[in-house]
């Protein structure tokens, strides 16, 4: 603890060790000169000025939104898709803390971090999209309880706070503030229960948003039980994202795993079993929803009928079978490809519901402007960079280096 308190007085030690990864400042700057960083900088150099311009010039100058298309890429991708892909935090949290599958420990913190950053980016995307974001405060005072969006707003707000508290454990460990992270670690079970509760509500409610627009969403995607589909597919998204993210992490940050072995392949196969079952159930539940909506005859008919088949067969049934086959034959590569398909399938589903199959009968269709795309891309890049910055420093993928305080 002493090293933390005196840190500002001795920048050469603590800052150099904890911020610049043990390098001097010039060394650190030179180490940043990589092709990946150049690409990221280019995306940010476009996206961030556009984000500022949007607040100066308004939505009309930056987006292709119209009177018939009030929601575009920033809601369809940043919010709808971002929140679904960030579901790994509560999925793995529940697996470890509640179901007691301790072997998944090593991927719990990265999953929570991915979730936290995903929600932060989704909220920034939402703020960009709102006409008067400062009036969001009215959510807490105006009692709009008849609105599904009221539920989404409350739950996203509460759950982002829970994720912040969960992430605070490695953050305070990094700072060495034991007084803060000890009690938070003890509260982790309670926080996990809250995270499952809030996630159940808002992951499903994001789907319920469309229940009030039966004439606008294509009958193959519209369902009065859409909240069930959104919740279950969020669990699928969580499982698939954790497989993809842990695979990438263990390749890109291999130096983090020195001295503590994590059998990622074994965890991946375990997750694949869960993924296979949930996706298989989801496939038939969706089919049931279509029948319930009297839309069975529309499957395969016209563009939307075929597009629905692409989503359901190529991005739900196929990865489900690949998960099952891969888990049974211990073929990790097949599982990883299936996870990538699964993640793509969730992206596809959220974009289909909010953009493609929405307004299906309108003659003039929405297509995002380059400025909308640039902001969405910039938010993804910020999330990736923040993830990298944090895992390189804080005890997320690895335990806190025990000698860190001795420098």
């Amino acid at each position: 603890m002493a090293s933390v308190v005196t840190a500002p007085a001795r920048p050469g030690s603590w800052v150099q060790e904890r911020i610049f990864l043990g390098m001097t400042f010039p060394q650190y700057l030179r180490s940043l000169w990589t092709p990946f960083n150049v690409v990221c900088t280019a995306i940010l150099a476009v996206g961030i000025p556009v984000l500022v311009y949007r607040f100066v010039a308004g939505l009309g100058a930056t987006t292709n939104l119209s009177q018939t298309q009030p929601w575009g890429l920033w809601i369809g991708f940043d919010m709808m898709t971002g929140i679904a892909l960030a579901a790994g935090g509560f999925t793995i949290g529940a697996t470890v803390e509640i179901f007691g599958l301790d072997e998944y420990h090593s991927i719990e913190r990265p999953a929570i971090l991915t979730g936290f950053l995903g929600y932060m980016m989704a909220v920034i995307g939402l703020i960009a999209d709102l006409g008067k974001p400062w009036n969001m405060i009215g959510i807490f005072s105006n009692n709009g309880t008849q609105s599904v969006l009221f539920e989404v707003a409350w739950c996203v707000c509460c759950y982002t706070t829970v994720l912040l508290l969960e992430f605070a454990v490695p953050f305070f460990e990094w700072l060495g503030w034991e007084r803060f992270y000890r009690p938070l670690k003890k509260a982790l079970l309670g926080l996990t229960v809250l995270s499952v509760m809030f996630s159940t509500m808002h992951q499903s409610a994001l789907g319920s948003l469309f229940i009030i627009a039966p004439g606008k969403l294509h009958p193959l995607w519209y369902s009065s039980q859409i909240f069930l589909f959104f919740f279950i597919s969020a669990v699928i998204a969580g499982i698939c994202m954790v497989i993809v993210e842990s695979t990438l992490s263990h390749r890109l940050f291999s130096e983090q795993f020195e001295g503590h072995h994590v059998d990622v392949d074994k965890l991946t196969l375990g997750l694949a079993k869960a993924g296979a079952v949930v996706m298989f159930a989801y496939f038939f539940l969706k089919l049931q929803g279509v029948i319930d909506n009297h839309a069975l005859g529309l499957i395969g008919m016209g563009f939307y009928g075929k597009w629905f088949l692409v989503e359901m067969l190529g991005f739900v049934l196929l990865p489900s079978l690949m998960f099952a086959w891969g888990a049974r034959n211990r073929h990790v590569t097949v599982v990883r490809v299936a996870a990538i398909l699964g993640v793509s399938g969730i992206v596809l589903n959220r974009l289909n519901v909010s953009l493609v199959a929405y307004n299906y009968h309108q003659s003039v269709r929405y297509w995002p402007s380059w400025m909308e795309v640039s902001v969405s891309l910039a938010l993804v890049v910020i999330g990736v960079l923040a993830f990298r910055w944090i895992v390189n420093r804080m005890p997320v993928l690895r335990p806190m280096k025990s000698n860190a305080g001795e420098h």
Partner: protein, 305 residues
């Protein structure tokens, strides 16, 4: 406990009979005699009486401080929709006999408005007197009202840096002073009738059923979206006139009631259920509870002390 079989059957029979007698009577009363929102102010539009003078457009623009509507040549060149600077439009539809029908469109002011139920900050709210009112100072600009409205009425000021939603106000301010809405006040042909919804449903039925050769047997807005405060009678099908004919006959806010019932169940059931699962998975001999000695921090124990 002393309830004999005979008594039971008597009670059951009496209750059943009462229910049979009471239920149809009550449901007839609800759907026929008293229309929903019977005391709310409403307008009945008779499209057969509209002469297409567009005086309503001009009066609306003046009352709401909007730009002047376009001249006839421009206005009737193509079908127009309402917009952020235009709360009502009159569109022509040619009839088979060579004549033209004109239809005035504006916010329908639903009895149970989808937009107001969708608004999470209650910037849109249904007034007890009838109008669906909007308070821009509360609006956060989520545009969920635009997604929810089955008539695509709310319009957004995309061109402004600090935008609000715009739509017909039903002149709620004028109505509060006891005046008619501006459009109704200037209508020279009697196409717009202003009154309570109860009266106007009666009047619409009188016209439709009194002149079956003239009118189609459909009062648009009587049941659409669960009932609207603006209603229409016509001699040309509402589909041809450009109305949203796919609109549900049920109240739109009711569609989400089931989904909104989920949170209380989840909030009540999930914590005990999850704690039960935790207790089960951490019972003796299974996993050790790992509350304090948890996660990636396992290896760091005490080193920062």
């Amino acid at each position: 406990m002393k309830l004999g079989r005979r008594t039971f059957l008597q009670i059951a029979g009496a209750t059943g009979t009462a229910a049979l007698v009471a239920l149809p009577g009550r449901s007839r009363a609800a759907s026929d005699v008293h229309a929903v929102g019977a005391d709310e102010s409403s307008v009945l539009v008779d499209t057969t009486k509209c002469i297409g003078c567009r005086g309503c457009e001009a009066a609306c623009a003046e009352a709401n401080k909007l730009p002047d509507p376009p001249g006839d040549d421009k206005a009737y060149a193509a079908t127009r929709t309402t917009g952020p600077e235009c709360f009502t439009v009159v569109n022509p539809t040619p009839k088979a006999d060579g004549s033209t029908r004109y239809v005035k469109r504006q916010c329908m002011h639903c009895v149970e408005p989808a937009c107001a139920s969708a608004c999470p900050v209650r910037a849109l709210d249904k007034l007890a007197t009838g109008p669906v009112a909007y308070d821009g100072s509360k609006c956060m600009g989520c545009r969920y009202c635009m997604v929810a409205c089955p008539f695509s009425v709310p319009k957004y000021e995309y061109s402004k840096a600090i935008p609000v939603v715009r739509k017909c106000t039903f002149c709620s301010g004028r109505q509060a002073e006891g005046k008619q809405p501006a459009c109704v006040g200037v209508c020279p042909s009697g196409a717009l009738a202003y009154g309570t919804r109860g009266q106007l449903v009666e009047e619409a039925r009188r016209r439709v059923y009194g002149n079956p050769d003239k009118y189609l047997p459909h009062i648009y807005g009587e049941h659409e979206a669960g009932g609207t405060n603006w209603m229409y009678v016509s001699d040309l099908s509402f589909e041809k006139l450009g109305f949203e004919v796919a609109v549900n006959d049920n109240s739109y806010p009711k569609l989400v009631r089931g989904a909104l019932g989920v949170p209380p169940v989840v909030m009540t059931l999930w914590p005990p259920l999850l704690m039960g699962l935790w207790a089960f998975s951490h019972r003796d001999g299974k996993n050790k509870p790992h509350g304090t000695d948890h996660g990636a921090g396992k290896a760091d124990g005490g080193n920062h002390g």
